[in-house]
Amino acid sequence: MLPLAGLLIRAPWTTLPERLTEPGILAALRLSLLTATLATIVCLILGVPLAWLLARTTFPGRRFVRALVTVPLVLPPVVGGVALLLVFGRRGLVGEWLDTTFGFTLPFTTTGVVVAEAFVAMPFLVISVEGALRGADSRYEEAAATLGASRWTAFRRVTLPLIAPGVAAGAVLCWARALGEFGATITFAGNFPGRTQTMPLAVYLALEQDLDAAIVLSLVLLVVSVVILATLRDKWVGVT
């Protein structure tokens, strides 16, 4: 709590209104919210099936895959960014192919920001959803199968509604982590205002020039995240 209080005490309250209307802030905020949301969607699309595979099936190397999923948690985000560059960079393993085949490059683009954030935030979603799946009674899926439901139908119509709170909690965590992402983003996507400069990057940049601006940016990020997280928590997770 102390750092938060410090932020509030040191805030340049007198010049706050004019600082808030600076175009840079709004652009960074919009970019942050957009990329964090897109990253969460990417994590949901890739992470929920992955969590299902980990929780409900056995395949060779499953333990290894599970360990791999948690790697971004322990890896310094900057290292993650470097790894992403090595893979998706213009001379990277996949990046070179993407570039020559589709003329499409990821690094230093808004899409790159989404990829970096999704990479770092994915474990939060997968771990939450896998936990929810393990807690859910798999016999409901068996009951659905005897009623003629394919595995996909059973998952969509029975399992997913049962684990919805877990998925929502995972998505919220994932979104929050993506919103605060710094290291991988700046390494992989750079720091271009309006294109890849998210709020944490803007804060870092401002810190070197104008402490007050950095405090204002931090305050905005803080208020926005608290409001959104509080709303989501009440609405989806059902925890007050």
Binding site: T146, G148, S150
Partner: protein, 344 residues
């Protein structure tokens, strides 16, 4: 529509190896103690576990390699497994929806089925708002909604209290009678089995030990488990000319005369106890020692040891008069006409 199955499932030291058949409209009860493999057999039929060997032929088609969703088998699970996030109506409509029936049509069918099981007032309720008996009916309606070729019920009444159980049993019997295909019912309660099923299949240690209708099973048990279930004393021995040698030199005189390996069964009430060796007609008399006394309905159940272990039922008055208590030595007698012998 009929079922012909040979189920072989091997699981950590346990082997289920059971043959099971059921004709159209026939209700077969799989009865057995806990751990006998009843639920394993049911799950194998439903396709929830694979067979290690054997076959399942339903309606003339081999289905043992089919996935559960392609077997057209309706299952009522022990704790019903109604989908908690769906209303009773949508639970019942789930099956038809999965088989490609439109949303509207499947709801019409579901409403119709719920009305038939007497739950027309509860269609909108979520499973947690239903009583045990109501949930059981929804589960039955849900299983019947797909018009299954085979209906499986796993301990359908086990989760209910005594009063609800009675009503639900009568209700269930009506619906099983209306189902055209074969029904396999798993239970550990002999009363449920006898009330609901046309034929009983007794499973012990993964094997079928006896099969037959309720009357045969209750009068001619073939294992100690079945004998205990139906409350008879049971011995195995060798019969010749109206006597059966059941233990060492000990023989019982019986009403049925044949030669060969035989079972002898008689109810505890057929055993009379005396302080001194009785004179006269009963030819089966032997000295015995009381090992335990317990209440059994109106009578007292006396467990005795001697040449054979035997249970006897006597009135409370007789027990007092004889001073029956563990350790007491008495004479036991059995009328030959009350002991049934049948080939083993």
């Amino acid at each position: 529509m009929s079922l012909d199955a040979h189920l072989v499932v091997k699981r950590d030291g346990f082997t289920l190896d059971a043959t099971l058949t059921a004709g159209p409209g026939e209700v077969v009860a799989l009865l057995g103690p806990n751990g006998a493999g009843k639920s394993t057999a049911l799950r194998a039929l439903a396709g929830l576990i694979g067979l290690d060997d054997g076959h399942i032929t339903l309606d003339g088609r081999r289905i043992e390699r089919d996935a559960p969703e392609h077997r057209h088998i309706g299952v009522v699970f022990q704790d019903y497994l109604l989908f908690p996030h769906l209303s009773a109506l949508d639970n019942v409509a789930f099956g038809p929806r999965c088989r490609g029936v439109s949303k509207t049509e499947s709801r019409v069918q579901a409403t119709d089925l719920l009305t038939r099981v007497g739950l027309s007032d509860h269609v909108r309720k979520k499973p947690r708002e239903l009583s045990g008996g109501q949930a059981q009916r929804v589960a039955l309606a849900r299983a019947l909604a797909t018009d299954p070729k085979l209906l499986l019920l796993d301990e359908p009444l086990a989760a209910l209290d005594a009063r609800t159980r009675l009503d639900t049993r009568a209700h269930l019997r009506g619906h099983l009678g209306a189902h055209n295909g074969p029904t396999v019912l798993v239970t550990h309660d002999p009363l449920d089995a006898m009330m609901l099923a046309d034929r009983l299949v007794i499973l012990e240690d993964g094997r079928v030990v006896q099969t037959g209708d309720a009357a045969t099973i209750t009068s001619q048990p073939r294992t100690d488990y079945v004998a205990r279930l139906v409350g008879l004393n049971l011995y195995r021995g060798h019969a010749s000319e109206g006597t059966v040698r059941v233990a060492g030199d000990f023989t019982l005189t019986v009403a049925d005369a044949f030669t060969g390996d035989a079972f002898v069964a008689f109810p505890p009430s057929a055993v009379a106890l005396y302080n001194v060796r009785p004179e006269g007609s009963p030819r089966n008399t032997w000295p015995a020692t009381v090992t335990a006394v317990s209440r059994q309905g109106d009578a007292l159940r006396i467990e005795l040891t001697g040449p054979i272990q035997v249970a006897a039922d006597v009135t409370s008055a007789a027990a007092v008069q004889l001073g029956l208590e563990p350790g007491r030595e008495v004479w036991a007698s059995l009328k030959a006409t009350e002991a049934t012998a049948y080939p083993a």
